[in-house]
């Protein structure tokens, strides 16, 4: 029997996993979209996006929509790999 791997602590948190699951299905998403779908507060979401971005799991682009600042996020190759590994480890636990 193969040893159980530890779940990636960066992904094994409710909000960060929700963000990654949202981004895995789309090309890119705006901050407001992620906030609406996760129901998180803006402050908490910003902090968690920073953590994912620092780890290289997502890329965050800050631009402007008219005069309003616009934050757009998309998952990176590193993020996709980490997400796939997380799901595979999860499968091991369930099996």
């Amino acid at each position: 029997m193969s040893a159980f791997k530890n779940l990636d602590p960066l992904l094994h948190s409710q909000l960060r996993l929700a963000v990654m699951s949202l981004l895995i299905g789309v090309d890119s998403a705006e901050f407001v979209f992620i906030k609406e779908k996760t129901g998180a507060t803006a402050g908490n979401l910003s902090v968690q996006l920073d953590k994912l971005s620092t780890a290289g799991y997502i890329s965050v682009a800050k631009t402007f929509k008219g005069k309003k600042p616009l934050t757009t996020c998309s998952i990176t190759r590193v993020g996709i790999k980490a997400f796939e590994e997380y799901v595979n480890t999860l499968k091991q636990y369930i099996e």
Binding site: L15, L17, S21, D27, S28, F33, K65, V87, L90, I94
Partner: protein, 193 residues
């Protein structure tokens, strides 16, 4: 939603739920392009055919000038749609790339029209068929897949006609390949909203 740690079951539920949330926001607005280009190209084909057939005017190709405002309208619509959308799906991206590739192909053919003995219409119908067929496959929308096939059939017919009659084949092909599937797609988009 908080930062709490999850059990394995909670993790799976969350992943499934969030992927479902993203799915519900898939590409909309595709029918606009099929209807706009369907009407413009069908009427331009018919116009070119009638003017040429009945010798109404010595420069029948002038009708194709209608594609310039249609191109501008497409760009404005696309830019507005992108601005409004808070999320961009993989399908949105693919959709844009498919039609950009078709557009580049059409430009190349128009540039070398003398080298293809002015059979541009028949060749453009082949390209339009490719774009429509792949769009239909990406959207899993059968009327568009059949529309792509209709465009290819009209292209084969056009290759067997003289240059003037090719425009009539083009008009019928565009009606079957763009307009009919375009209206069916619009109906589905309305039901989804």
């Amino acid at each position: 939603m908080s930062n709490k740690e999850l059990t394995t079951d909670e993790s799976l539920d969350l992943i499934t739920n969030m992927i479902g949330q993203a799915k519900r926001n898939l590409a909309r607005g595709g029918s606009f392009y099929f209807l706009l280009w369907g009407w413009v190209v069908m009427l331009a084909n018919l116009g070119h055919y009638l003017i040429d057939k009945y010798d109404w005017y010595e420069h029948p190709y002038i009708v194709w000038a209608a594609t310039i405002p249609a191109g501008i309208a497409s760009m404005i619509y696309g830019a507005r749609h992108d601005r409004k959308a808070a999320v961009r799906s993989h399908l949105d991206r693919l959709y844009g790339l498919i039609w950009m590739a078709v557009f580049i192909g059409v430009l190349i053919i128009l540039f070398f029209m003398a080298d293809v003995s002015y059979n541009v219409n028949a060749i453009i119908l082949t390209f339009a068929g490719i774009g429509t067929f792949i769009s239909g496959c990406a959207l899993r929308f059968n009327p568009l897949i059949l529309g792509g096939i209709a465009l290819w059939i009209s292209s084969i017919i056009a290759f067997n006609l003289d240059l003037t009659d090719q425009y009539l084949a083009g008009a019928i092909g565009i009606l079957a390949g763009y307009l009919i599937p375009g209206y069916l797609l619009k109906r589905v988009e309305r039901e989804r909203i």
